[in-house]
Point group: C3
Chain length 209, copies 3
């Protein structure tokens, strides 16, 4: 995965750290855990989506297992969450921003990697979304919560927008660092607007409250 342009690669590492930190904090809020549980869930959040993608596109062993900084950043983020749990719990907005960076970068990188491994455009876009939301979904399932992505504020939708923009750009030979950053920025802005204005995807008509 370090064949990405350096800036994108740096953002990918930032996203890994942010997901490790945020994943661990979310897990700590949901249930009692010891340090093993916190680190495990931080790693699953940060690395799970990319591992699922690599399994499905047959890029095995997963990139995560071949390049140690991913592990180090995911574990580091989780350990910081473990130690500074109390204090970080109050810092909602910076954590949401970091998480949105991870979401945006993972969607773009995941979609472009899937295309590079020969997937079609629609499946590649889906794999971008899986990269972005897969890890958090596993974490929520393990701590016994209905995954956030299934029920609240815009989360999968901005990832899907970024992934679709990415595969379209690749289709029309326009993909490069500016497009990748642009697609990630669109995802980031939609996500932050969703958080700011508590936007939700539509609910079923007549659903009981």
């Amino acid at each position: 995965m370090n064949t990405q342009p350096p800036l994108l690669f740096a953002l990918d590492l930032t996203g890994t750290f942010a997901f490790g930190l945020n994943g661990a904090l979310t897990a700590l809020r949901a249930t009692r855990l010891d340090v093993v549980g916190v680190v495990t869930l931080g790693m699953l959040t940060a690395l799970g989506g990319g591992v699922i993608r690599d399994v499905l596109i047959d890029a095995l062993p997963p990139a995560t297992f071949l390049y140690w900084p991913y592990f180090a950043l995911a574990i580091g983020g989780a350990l910081i969450a473990f130690v500074l749990n109390r204090w970080l719990g109050r810092l909602t907005m910076p954590l949401t921003v970091l998480d949105a960076i991870g979401l945006s970068v993972f969607a773009v990188i995941g979609a472009s990697k899937a295309v590079a491994f020969g997937l079609g455009l629609a499946p590649a876009a889906l794999l971008g979304v899986i990269t972005a939301v897969g890890g958090g979904t596993i974490r929520d399932a393990l701590v016994g919560q209905v995954p956030t992505v299934l029920r609240s504020e815009l989360y999968a939708i901005p990832a899907l927008v970024a992934a679709v923009l990415t595969v379209l750009a690749i289709r029309f030979d326009a993909y490069g660092l500016p497009v990748a950053l642009g697609a990630a920025a669109v995802c980031f802005v939609i996500r932050m607007l969703g958080v700011r204005f508590r936007l939700n995807a539509p609910r079923p008509p007549f659903a009981s409250p």
Copy 2:
């Protein structure tokens, strides 16, 4: 997967649609979801079992990612469930029938594909069952319910019967469309009898109620 005989292929697509619809309805009954959650869970129900099978037999990327009608039918079924949720909730029997068709066809196709990829007969039969029940199991785990397959009416057993019949027929060079349909029909009948007479697999002796 479109190397199957046309009738079986049509049933496979029917099963995909039925699982997408039914999976989304089941998820809606279990928890609050937005449209992203409903479509995600419909897709996971319809496509999850086949994806797990393709990962385990090393048929990657999974067939689902290579042939768009699977996606379209799974998403279409889930969207119909989302819009017509209230009204479809009353139509229990047609949905159970559609679901039983999916179960039957997935078990037969899953087992035969596993044999085609070189698996032994017993593992191939197991992979047939995994194809049939894997998607629903993931859905139930994500919405926080003990998977139906683990605790109620005959569900995995008819799938196992169909998968075993399939691998035996392949072993004795008797596999073809008639046998495939016959094996699926046996599964379908056992499943519907199970629903009709509320048959359950045996419970542990002395288990507390």
Copy 3:
């Protein structure tokens, strides 16, 4: 996987049986299940960790699907748990010992297999832990419990110690049956001390009780 030395192979089969038995009993304690559910969860507990490892190191189809005694022992263990549920529930200590044997052997074999498939030392150690605890984690997620490994007594840590000893021995060309048994014994002893003295991994500072 039957390229392991005979004694290690025998322990691997013992561990598979123990995990099948223990996994089924744990599942029965957590929720109501029929015989299909008990056997399914016993199999997932016994075989799930190894299957995840084989998927991630691209050793497909998984060893479990190629060599029937694994299936037979996992299913046999689960069926014994199903029939003797009441009676076995009282035998806490022998079951804990059997489970610790499985944990120890799976960690060592998992790590050594990952190295044999070309993984680096740190990822291989992680895959040893995944082999040892993956199956139980899936089982707990399916029956709606926060996985034991995430929150109680030393469980992942002894597996990690054994896996690290294994990869270090391989690194320094000292791996063989004595080292494998030694690493497994270290894991076993730490695990049993953890059970005996109710040791837990550290909790987050200031966490609410």
